[in-house]
Amino acid sequence: MEGSQFQRQAANMRKTLFDQGYLDEQFIQLEELQDDANPNFVEEVVKVFYRDSARMIRNIEVAMAKTPIDFEKLDDVMHQFKGSCSGIGAKKVKGECTQFQDYCKAENAEGCTRTFQSLKQEHAILKTKLENYFQLTRQC
């Protein structure tokens, strides 16, 4: 049946996301919070996250464009961003955040730049994957 097919597909996709390290335990927490009162809770949270994180990424870009780079401020902003990522369980993105912060502490501008690129990539990839996933789940 269609329903069950979608269900299976969604389940597989979900499993992959976890297996490949895109998501962590926190995502499950969100799923557990989902109920009849908020049937699309997880999706809503992810939406909020992406809206807000876009803003944060812009802030980081602005901070990085400054010369000289204020590493402390950069570290602070990244810290906030990381906190947000931890909310939805964005594991890979979080990893990049930590790496970025390490570079900030080392005041390694080049390292920061590289990591930031990597971070934005992971951020975008996850977004697409989740969007697909939610689409699938809505079909069920």
Binding site: L33, D52, S84
Partner: protein
Amino acid sequence: MTIMENSGFSSPRNDAFPAGLRVLVVDDDPTWLKILEKMLKKCSYEVTTSGLARDALDMLRERKDGFDIVISDVNMPDMDGFKLLEHVGLEMDLPVIMMSVDGETSRVMKGVQHGACDYLLKPIRMKELRNIWQHVFRKRIHEVRDIEFHEGIDEIHMMRNVSDQSEDKHIPSGTDSVSGKKRKDVDNKHDDRECNDSSAVKKTRVVWTVDLHQKFVNAVNRIGLDKVGPKKILDLMGVPWLTRENVASHLQKYRLYLGRLQKEKELTASFGGLKHSDITSKEPNTNHCLQNLVNNQQCDRTSDSHSIHRNETVIQNVDFKMYEGDMKCTVSMPMAEPKNAINVDNSDPQKSSSTRTSLSHSFGKLDSEVKLATTIPKQYSWNEECSRAQMNRECKPQFQPKSGINSLPLTTLPQSIQLDCVQPGPSLSFRPSSIDHDKAKPEMKPAYVKSRSLGIEQMSPVGCKVDLSSVQTGSKLTNAEGFKFISTAMWSMNNHSLDQVVEGGKESAHRSLNLACGSALKSWDENLHGGFFPGDFQPVNIDPRSIESLNYNNPELTAEVPNYLYDSLKFDFEYPFDSMEYPVMDQGLFIV
């Protein structure tokens, strides 16, 4: 579970505690705000969210009793999370939980230092939020326990002999060892009562207005501080809506306040003199000290010694307190001149002139300090008198109190003066020596402390009980000084207060004044030869007998507390006091 059910939550779902717990979540991260909101709702809590610390504070202020607990992130753009934590603790006295992605020990420690009752790390799990109600419950239980403890003590007193009672009574809330143990016993005994009473203990705090406090003090004085118990006080007060728990907790604070006064007295005495420079600086402290009375935790200074002198000490302590805090206000009076504190003398007609002089001397010193302070309303005519008196005293102890007093509109002499004296006492947080109060601040009931904001006017001399014993034991001049100072200060306080005081009960005032004067004089006398006051010091031989004539522990002393004075206590909580080191949290007690 019975306890929980009867926790007396003022939330709509009392019976289902912790369900219905009213939580305020503050986080600038919208993702987490949404998640936390959902998590808390799942715990059946009532959730309010805010993305800005300022908004959160406004909300808390608007609905004083609208929340049970606050959860806040540490890093926020508009306000530091720790600052918010401080504000909430001080103003609302609510438990606050901090959150952060950063679990660094130093940060966590900072959170705890600022008063956070817990520190959660993001990502936060639901199970962590499920248990936050324990912080609310714990706080309530502690409050109830304090009340129950004291009530239990009172009951025990009735059952035991007097010696036991006195022992029990001397346990200030500040001390842990003894009281903790007793508390256990009491709690065990009164477990049922606690449950029942807990249910009555609501979140809404009693507002101890000056009126109410006055009734309280009257009752206490009538019964006698050493025999007093919440039930007795409650009966005497005749306030139908007041519960025994309310009275018990208030009594506890009052005791602490008295204790603190005593301590201060002792402290200043040990310093042997007013330190002018310190005086002004101490002002804020005094208020705090008094305020801190409310905060039992902070009032560690109370010691057994002062408890012993509790009854007697009151006045003295008050003096100190008053002095300090009032320095600003009261000093205004003769501010400029370290003249006599004469009023004190005047009040006690029986005092020998020498006594008077001593007062003035002490006062004089104080005055100099006081000047720094402030603003005393010059409305009091007697203030001027005082100044005049001061001038007179220069040379001799022959102080003509009358001159000063007569001018006072309110008083008909010592009597009226006494009223003032007595009353403003407590609030005045006098610290004659203003010195290292910190060391031993007697716990003063916050109620009696006059908030600075009100200044003298606000001072509600809650029943100053002069610690004659301490005086007699050679308390330093400072004590006397302080007292005198306070007396004077008090007088210089608002005319209003005077008026009220006068109306309130001249007699008691009279007595109190006598008491205060007596003690002040006594101590002063003893210190006279110590060159207490450099300069103006004029040794006077105080006739001890004059002191004896004073009524010690005049219960009425504490009675006349002008209502407004009480109110003033509520203010100034946020005053950062330094040496006192009392958390401002105390204010919650009186602010209600």
